[in-house]
Amino acid sequence: MNASLDTNSTTSRWHIIAALAAWLLPGLGHILMGQRRRGYILGSSILGLWLAGLVMGGISCIEMYSHIEIRTQQQRSTDRFRAWFLGQMLLAPSLAVAWYHTQLRNRVPANLSTQRQKRNYFAMVDYSRVPLPDDTPPYFEPSYGRVNEQAVLYTALAGMLNLLAIIDVLYRDPKTELCQAGTHVGSKMAEIPA
């Protein structure tokens, strides 16, 4: 195994690869460090929370920008960065979902040919539920109100909890690890070998 992932080492404190793995998939960092049980519990709870949020709010709960206007080429600059995305992006799968959401948002159904139809479609996808006259179903239904708030909260909190897990594997103090392994006597820690 990589030296940086060796938990028994008293000199290696920074575990960059494990932290990166934890960002890619929650719990994977701990599993790579040899703490399988801890990794499985962290992975299932963080991913469960994130998935619950995604199921609740749908794909529209993870997006980098909030689209506050009916979009035309000129109005795209009015899109505002969503601060919640900073929390959501602490879990790598959120980036993939945000990318896919943007793809779907910008995709126009093939049967909409006129500019007016396209504009109406974007208006529906962005912030209203008014259906198109020719019954074109959207690629996804946006979530609003409490459902959207709850879904954003779930996914962002999953990301922030994943940050705790990332920090936990990123830096390991050998003294603390020996204490955690039960090598301390009373309040005194065992002497760390040089």
Binding site: R37, R38, I41, L42, S45, I46, G48, L49, A52, L54, V55, M56, G57, G58, I59, S60, C61, R129, V130, P131, D135, P137, P138, Y139, F140, E141, P142, S143, Y144, G145, R146, V147, N148, E149, Q150, A151, L153, Y154, L157, A158, L161, L164, A165, D168, C179, Q180, A181, G182
Partner: protein, 77 residues
């Protein structure tokens, strides 16, 4: 409106309309926070369920106390 209502629910693409249950949905959130925090913090995971239950209850009690304090502040203030 009729289209979106009659259209079948597509998982991960369409939201679940559970506006009425938002307060109940705080419970899994509290449990998840407790599980992750305690899993990281505890050196030995044998007592994890007890510790998670205790922390979850503590968070819930403080939620209720905070809600009561804010209610008093808005009602009496």
């Amino acid at each position: 409106m009729t289209i979106l209502i009659t259209m079948a629910w597509r998982p991960l693409l369409d939201p679940v309309h559970i506006e009425a249950y938002w307060m109940v949905l705080m419970l899994p959130l509290v449990v998840a926070v407790s599980v992750v925090y305690k899993t990281i913090k505890l050196p030995d995971l044998t007592h994890l369920p007890i510790q998670v239950t205790r922390l979850s209850l503590q968070i819930l009690v403080f939620f209720i106390l905070a809600a009561a304090a804010l209610w008093l502040l808005t009602e009496l203030g």
